[in-house]
Each structure stands twice: as structure tokens, then as C-alpha cells.
Subunit: 467 residues, 2 copies
């Protein structure tokens, strides 16, 4: 694991700061042990670092007031949405105050005619889609977890639909952000494109709370497609599955989802979700479009799959069958952990140019086979992105060390192939060393920007960049 | 026009600096009058500001060496691609050295299997597409001018295809950038998505040379569609044309191009390109996809147009007819100027949420009618983006003042409607006051980032942000 030693020294919550936060928030400022513990640990294997206190904010102005108090007392500030980050992004590694944004859950505006929406940061993606149900619109970005849209913005989330609809990078139009000195700014806007000045929106998307706290997000929406069709296809070998993906993308089929699950993951899914899929490398497909368009896309993709050793194309055109299929996919993480009761998951992801995807996956699987590490693989392979979950007992140092060794090797491989150390999980405190390696001389520039916007290093310190 | 007074004082090219640049570049450093004049004026009405010298760079390392010399001597540095900017972006408002990147015109790598390419900054979009011709791939971003890809990156260019393929923001995967102190960094990479650290790529895209000089660009490519079809449709009134656009976008038809030309522009186009289109508000459409997909899209769009007073749908399915159609559209600027021999053009653009597009266009045209200003209108209306060209005699102060008044009013209207002061032309020195108005408190943040990366304010000073 990445050493935490280089982050700022642990801050102390003084009586004065506590009194000011309590005066501002009353019972919405908490220093109780269970509340702090809940906010110090994300869904990953990373060690917990509870904050010294948790502030439950309800408005942007309140976030600004909290930040102002923290800045005055030199207290770190960690934003928290749903706690579903995977690289320790919410851990209070230097202590300080967590700002819980889950109470900021208002959907401020929906404009069906403009296909956009503005939400407070604490709104989750599922709640947004429930709210939109009667409009014929939806928000496609789906990282699996029912994360908050503020958190998804902060980590530049993507997920299964990104191959067609893009990631948070492409789908955030504008933001309201509270800066390290309490200033409130609005970035971007509602125009679909703009050449007006620096792209601050994209700078904050993916900055993981280290440059400012996102309190409101304006997002693109999409019409629910007239027709949707999903299918599952098992392959003789993983090479055939990956080559199907590559050819599908290269052919320009506007596929909505194309997910790879290896034979280990399929075994886990079958057991966990009580299904009887073949225990073989498998692709999950989804097509969106008009009735005729979906039919055409599906026929083209099926033809490619059959050329590459696809053994069966099982269709799910009814909504409930599709839900079942994708629920099984989304439960992949829990299914993986269920393979070994009492274990924890060390989830990781890389992303490479698609021409290198087969090599990257095959070499990684060879390492896993040689190590006997249990690590199911799933991938948003249309983007060149795949995930492993090392299923480990974190109390066994030798297992942690082996997972680290395998992870180091996989990331190094992805970087050597022109890829990135994380396609969508983010850096947090878990991948800082990899980011430094990947960014090279640009890493220092990230630090210069961090210091320009947060000279006291109080915004989620010890994450993403070292300063 | 924006006052230039707030920019840094004019620098002097000392003998020492001249000697160092000459030692580095030999004859590729020029202080001749015609060369300087050529590099001080873009395609707009903005006043010319020739630099003190022009450095013709051939490599990234050479750009770094030039920047290092300029930094030592406190000389402004202005990057230059093809000089087709429209807001004075290349003007040497504080003197200094222009770095002409047109000699950096190598296509460094094409990866058909990954649908990406890396080029030096001086490669123009047309040359890239000629180079790609045999690969079945193309680069879609098309701002009209045959601009350099470095310049298009710097101004966040877009154009007619953006409604389907996005702008430079969505299509740049990675950059090589020379910073103000001569450091060379690489941003982004070849992975289709990444959650690794700050999005420096998007920060440099659209920064107009004020944060660094882009020397290499990695771009997404697309397969040339199996089928392409274009059509022209005249409308009874502009309201019907705009509502056709709005409904086409809201319906989710993946249209490749949807361009509005008002009756003034159609008259200009007919005269300039010797065509006989109806002199009426007109939409130019283009559809990309499979044969069946294009047919389906076109039928849907035609049905929408006919509902909204479209009077005729004239198809161009042959490549040469399509070329003629789009050449006429692209010649719109020159056609506008030809309406009044000896005139100059003051091109401007705004972009609004699409639900406000009809109001914004109609109110703007009302102002024009009341003023008797000749100003043809064209628009990338699928994005909510439209352009005017005020056809003026820049030697007549009353015409300049009237254009300024109309422009101020149009931009204010666009901002009040939730839009942006420029959809694609950029800020340069022409729209700095508008950017300040649009960005509000975020404007100061742009200045903080500028100072962090360019503390001496030598990178294209007097553009985009005031420091």
C-alpha cells in the first residue's frame, strides 16, 4: 500500500473549532465514534481513517461556512457522498472534518427540452433516474454502486454505459464548487459547448475533493431509447471474447454496453445470483436505438461474436430479463467476495488502448494463474477498461503483499502499453505512486495547480497529489 | 472593442535575445516586416499587433528552447498555427516572439486498430484527413478553416460535425505541452478513459496558448460511415427551421450535421457560389450511419421538417453533390463579405441551451432589422450555437460602434438565457470582458491558475484572462 507518511501532520480539532461548527450546525455536527467510523472507511480494503468530526451540510452556503471555519483552524476537509469509493478517497488520513453531503439531495431543475438537469451533490444516480422516470429521459452513467452524483463527479466515474454515453467527464455541463477559502464559484453552464476560457468544470471533475467541494452538478440527460436489447454470449476462450469487443468497436457499432466477465467471475455470478450461465469467458451486450437500429446492431455484433468462438447468443429483450442480467453483472463484486466467506475485496482497474486489451488481460491472467490468487475479472472492455478483485484476507500480510505485487505488475503493464493506472476508480490514497509514475513531469504541474487553489493543503489532503 | 490597456507593458527584443534566438534557429528566426505583419493579424476585424520576431520551430525541444530564451528575457510568446483565429488570439498585444508551428507538420503515428492518431501541432485538419484516406478513418472536427490541429486544440474548436462527434474537448486524448519555464510535459494518454489525477488535457484545450504551447496532439478517429446523405430544406420562417432542429435533437436522432442559414446568408451563398437555393431560412442536414440507419434518420428528420413548414427536402447522396453543398456552407463567411465589396467581417458566435435558441435568434434578428446592419447568420444549431458576421467598413467608427452595440446586446442576451459568450471562436482579446461577465467569481480562479503556471505572464499575455 502507498505510504501515508508524506501527507500533512494530523490536525487537532480544538474546542474553539468544535464550538464554531456546533454553533453553525447544532446536532448536524457530530463527533460520535460510530458516525466518525462510518465516514472513515470506503468499500475497499484500504485502512480506515475516521475524521475528527462529521458536518452534515444542507446548502452550498453551509458548505462554504464549514470550509471557512476549517480553513481558519487549519483543519483538513473531506467530502463524503455515499462512501462507495474504492481507493480510500474518503479516508481522513490527516484527521479533520468530513462534510457529509447526503442531505443535499434536492433535484433543483429538470429541463426535458434541453436534456439537462441540475442536482445537489448528494442526489444518487438511482434517485435521479427514479425522478426522471415520467419524462422519458435518463442519466446513463452507472458505476454499479448507487453513488452520489457529487461523488461520481469527484472521481470521474464511468461504468457499463460509458462506451456509448461517455464518462462523467463528458456528461457534466457545469458545477457549483466551494473552494478552500470558502469562495463559491460556478463553472461551465448549460450551453452544450463553449470556448469561453479555461475548462474549470473538467478540472474539478476527477479532482477527488482536493481542489474544492462540488455542491451542485448540471448533467446531460438522454432520451430513453425506443428499443433496448441485451444478450449474453459465452466464448471458447478469453481471446475470442476480447477480439469480439475490439472488432465491434472498430466496426463502429454504437453499442451501449459490452462487458466481459471471465470464467472465475461467471462461476461467482452463478453461485451468488443462482444462475446457470456457462462457466466460460462471457460477454454481456446491450444495444440502444430504434427498433430497426437495435436489430441491425445486434445482428452485426452477433456475427462478429460467432466468428470469434462465441458459442451461444442468449437474448433478453423483456425489461425484467434485462434487469436480472444486469443485476447479476452489478453484483459481481459481492459475488466475488462470496466465493470466500469472510474475505475482503481489493478492487482495482486499469485501462489500455483497445489493441492491447487482449495482451493485457491474457498476461494478467497468466500472473494470476501462477500465483493462485483468487481474482475474478470483469471489464468495461469496450473502453479498454478492466477490473480485478483480489479476494483476500487483509489480516494476512502475505496475501496483502501478493495482491500488491500482482497489482504493481498489472499497472506497470498497462502503463507500458500506453494505458492508465485507473480507468474509473480514481487515485485516492491507494494509487498515488502509480499516478506519479503515469503522469511523469506533469505530476508536478498537478501539484502546482493544487497549491494555487489550496495553498494550505486542507482539501482532502494526502489524496491524488503530494504537495 | 476590449481595451488592451490592462495587459503587460510592451517588451523589447534586446540584441542579446535576438542573438540567442538566431544562434538557436538561424534563418528560422525572422524579424522582417512582412513576416511579422503576417503573424500579427488573424482572419477577423481585430486590429493587428505584429510581434517583434517570429521563430519557426520544428521540434518540441526547439519550442522549449525558444520559450526558455524568451522567459530569460521576459519576452511574451505567442503560438501561431495557420492564423485563422477570430478573436485576435494571435495578436502580439504586448510585443514578443511568435512561435510559428506550421513547420511541425509530421503525422507521428496512426493506429487504425485503436482509432487514434498523434500529430505535431502544425498539421492541418485537411492534411490529416488526406493522410487517413486509405485507412477508412477520418477526423471529424471541422471549423470551416483548414486550421492546424494545435490551433484547434488551443481554441477548443468545433464546427459543423460537433453535434454528433463533439468538439476538440471530447476528441483530444492527450497532449505534449511546453510550459512557461520551458518544461515539456505530456498530458492524458491513449486510454479512452482515465480517472488518474487532474484533467490537464482539458485544461490546456481551450487555453489559447496562455498556459503553455501545445506541440503534439493525440486525437480520436472515427470510421468513415458506411453511408452518408445530405439534404437541404428551406422553411417558411426561421421559427419553423429552429423548431425542426430542437425536435430533431430532442428525438435523439444522431444527426451528423444540422446547420441553419438565414435568408440573408442564403442570398449571399447563392450569389457567391452561383447557386439557386430559395432565399429563405434553410437547414443543411447530414446523416451518417449504415445504409438502413441513414435512411431511417433521414425519414424521421424530414417528417419533423415538414411538420414545421419545411417546403422542400432536396437530397444530395452523391459525394460530389455533398461536397458542393458543404463547400457552399463553408464559404459562407466569404460569401457574406462579397455582399459588400471592400468590407471586412466581424464574426461572432454565442451558444445557448437549445430551448432558448429560437428566442435568441429571433430577438437578435429583430435588433439587426431595426439597425439596418448587414449581418448574415449561420448556425451549428444542433448545439444551440449560431454565428453572425457583421459586414462592416472598419474605417467607419460609427459602423464599428454599432456592431459593438449589437454584439454586446446579443452576448448579454445569450448569457441571460444560460448560454455562453462563445460556442467555438474563443476569447482572444476580443471577448475578455464577456468572459469575465460570464464566469463571475470563477474568473479569478482562471487567473490564479494562469499565475500558477505562468507567473511572469509571458504566455500569450493579454488574452483570455487578465492578471
Amino acid at each position: 500500500m502507498t505510504a501515508i507518511a508524506t501527507t500533512r501532520p494530523r490536525a487537532a480539532l480544538t474546542e474553539e473549532a468544535r464550538a464554531e461548527l456546533t454553533a453553525l450546525l447544532g446536532e448536524r455536527f457530530s463527533t460520535s465514534g460510530p458516525v466518525r467510523d462510518h465516514h472513515g472507511k470506503d468499500e475497499s480494503y484500504h485502512a480506515a481513517f475516521p475524521p475528527d468530526g462529521v458536518a452534515f451540510a444542507q446548502t452550498t452556503e453551509e458548505v462554504s461556512a464549514i470550509v471557512t471555519i476549517c480553513a481558519k483552524h487549519d483543519l483538513p476537509i473531506i467530502p463524503f457522498g455515499t462512501g462507495t469509493s474504492l481507493e480510500g478517497g474518503i479516508a481522513a488520513v490527516s484527521g479533520g472534518i468530513t462534510i457529509d453531503l447526503s442531505g443535499m439531495n434536492a433535484i433543483l431543475r429538470v429541463s426535458p427540452e434541453d436534456l439537462d438537469v441540475t442536482v445537489q451533490a448528494g442526489v444518487t444516480r438511482k434517485r435521479l433516474n427514479e425522478h426522471l422516470r415520467d419524462t422519458g429521459l435518463f442519466f446513463p452513467i452507472d458505476p454499479g454502486a448507487d453513488a452520489s452524483l457529487g461523488g461520481m463527479t469527484a472521481t470521474r466515474a464511468s461504468g457499463t454505459n460509458a462506451v456509448r454515453y461517455g464518462t462523467m467527464r463528458e456528461n457534466v455541463l457545469g458545477l457549483t464548487v466551494v473552494l478552500a477559502d470558502g469562495r463559491i464559484i460556478k463553472t461551465g453552464g448549460r450551453a452544450r459547448k463553449s470556448a469561453a476560457g479555461y475548462d474549470l468544470t473538467r478540472l474539478f471533475v476527477g479532482s477527488e475533493g482536493t481542489l474544492g467541494i462540488v455542491t451542485e452538478v448540471t448533467l446531460k440527460l438522454y432520451g430513453i431509447p425506443e428499443a433496448v436489447s441485451s444478450a449474453v454470449c459465452a466464448f471458447n476462450d478469453i481471446h475470442g471474447a476480447v477480439n469480439t469487443v475490439i472488432q465491434t468497436i472498430q466496426t463502429g457499432i454504437p453499442i451501449a454496453r459490452i462487458e466481459l466477465l471471465d470464467e472465475v467471475q461467471m462461476d461467482a455470478v452463478n453461485k451468488y445470483s443462482k444462475l446457470d450461465y456457462a462457466v466460460a469467458p462471457t460477454l454481456f451486450f446491450e444495444f440502444h436505438g430504434t427498433e430497426a437500429g437495435v436489430k441491425e446492431q445486434a445482428e452485426m455484433a452477433a456475427a462478429i461474436a460467432l466468428e470469434h468462438g462465441g458459442v451461444e447468443f442468449a437474448w433478453a429483450t423483456r425489461a425484467e430479463d434485462r434487469s436480472k442480467l444486469w443485476q447479476a453483472r452489478h453484483d459481481g463484486y459481492y459475488a466475488a467476495l462470496a466465493l470466500r466467506p469472510g474475505s475482503k475485496g481489493w478492487p482495482t482497474d486499469v485501462c489500455v488502448p483497445i489493441s492491447r486489451l487482449a495482451d493485457c488481460i491474457l498476461e494478467t491472467k497468466k500472473d494470476l494463474a501462477e500465483s493462485n490468487m483468487l481474482a475474478p475479472m470483469v471489464g468495461h472492455v469496450g473502453d479498454g477498461n478492466f477490473h480485478l478483485v483480489y479476494v483476500i484476507d487483509p489480516d494476512k500480510p502475505e496475501e496483502m503483499a501478493e495482491a500488491q505485487r500482482l497489482n504493481d505488475k498489472m499497472v506497470a503493464r498497462a502503463l507500458a502499453m500506453g494505458g492508465t493506472c485507473t480507468g474509473e476508480h480514481g487515485i485516492g490514497y491507494g494509487k498515488m505512486a502509480f499516478l506519479e509514475q503515469e503522469a511523469g513531469d506533469a505530476y508536478a504541474v498537478m501539484g502546482e495547480i493544487k497549491l494555487a487553489l489550496d495553498p494550505k493543503n486542507i482539501m482532502n489532503p494526502g489524496k491524488v497529489v503530494r504537495v
